[in-house]
Subunit: 212 residues, 2 copies
């Protein structure tokens, strides 16, 4: 019997888990800004981290039917592209949670920045991540900026379009935002600057032993 | 105007990219074993890496309808669960490629270990990863173990079931395996031990400047 006939069992590398920092809040509330500042600070601390947001998820993993149709045939694009129905939004969040969980397993702090307006979807994300790991792996951050301020900022002009009836189902205008009842971190984001908010997140992570 | 009214532009952290090492080959060829050994070696070298395989993908991101039905309602499970049709297999590989690309962006070496029997699907994965990054980010590894050896090993008893007609569409038995024509790494996996094969992969990564 030579060495190629041995059954090899390569053990998976045991790594300290990362965690998932799940930012939620209205469009324009500052989720991405704060998440990217936290990412920057973790990077400076030598701690592996990564931001999952619309930019890198909606153009790849959770592409729309129209985007998929650029590369795949129509049957494929229609079958697997994600739209904005309640089912599709739930699947959008489910996939993001699965990917965040993989980063967590890889020892990376995953920072997710999506409106994620429905409590049920966020709770499903929490459950999926804690099922693979442990309690404390999912840290919900409510970026609590009043609607008036978000609408006044309107960095992408989306509120203006929504008010004009061009974006039906827009969160905060004609679709609900279900605020977290007991997020691990509540950011009074209408009153403080993004760097100050990012410091609050870093302080929490440190207090929980997630970073040194 | 106070600081909360400033529009903040947090720049994404600029990290050196990782890469995607895409193992392909028949069931039982040694993909997972070699991928996990490479993961171990990269970990020892202080290089961030992670294995994506059936264990962590099929139970989460690419769950079957039956698995999704444990947590979600039937309409959701049927709409989004993945089976083994040609379309579903293509979507399976597409999502894995998207996740591997995100790890690559995060500076991690993503090691994927899936049969991925169709050349077209692997080429789509390569295109998706190189579109976001650059040529050289996708490294295809053909784990070339003869079918007879895979079937003799049959670590999970799948070939036996397939020969008994219980697993229709099983790659190598009644579904084709399309071998890569020009993989970056060709492993003569029937003739060498897994640690020797893992060393070949590490040597390649080093030669390409992917690890120091």
């Amino acid at each position: 019997m030579d060495s190629t006939q041995v059954t090899w069992h390569a053990h998976a590398v045991v790594r300290p888990r990362g965690c998932v920092v799940w930012f939620t809040g209205l469009s324009g509330c500052g989720k991405s800004t704060v998440a990217n500042l936290v990412d920057q600070k973790l990077h400076e601390l030598g701690c592996g981290s990564f931001v999952l947001d619309g930019d890198n998820i909606r153009h790849g993993l959770n592409a729309s039917p129209a985007m998929l149709a650029e590369t795949f045939d129509d049957a494929f694009a229609q079958r697997f592209g994600l739209g904005f129905s309640a089912l599709d939004r739930a699947e959008n969040i489910r996939r993001i949670a699965c990917v965040a969980e993989l980063f967590c397993e890889a020892g990376v702090v995953a920072l997710t920045a999506f409106v994620s307006p429905y409590r049920e979807d966020r709770e499903a994300a929490r459950a999926a991540i804690e099922r693979q790991g442990e309690e404390g792996d999912f840290i919900e951050v409510f970026v609590d900026t009043p609607l008036e301020i978000c609408e006044q900022r309107d960095p992408k002009g989306l509120y203006k379009q929504a008010r004009a009836g061009k974006l039906p189902g827009f969160t905060g205008i004609d679709a609900p935002y279900e605020a977290p009842a007991s997020a691990e971190i509540h950011l009074a984001a209408g009153e403080k600057s993004p760097p100050a908010l990012a410091d609050e997140v870093i302080a929490y992570l440190r207090s929980q032993g997630k970073i040194r």
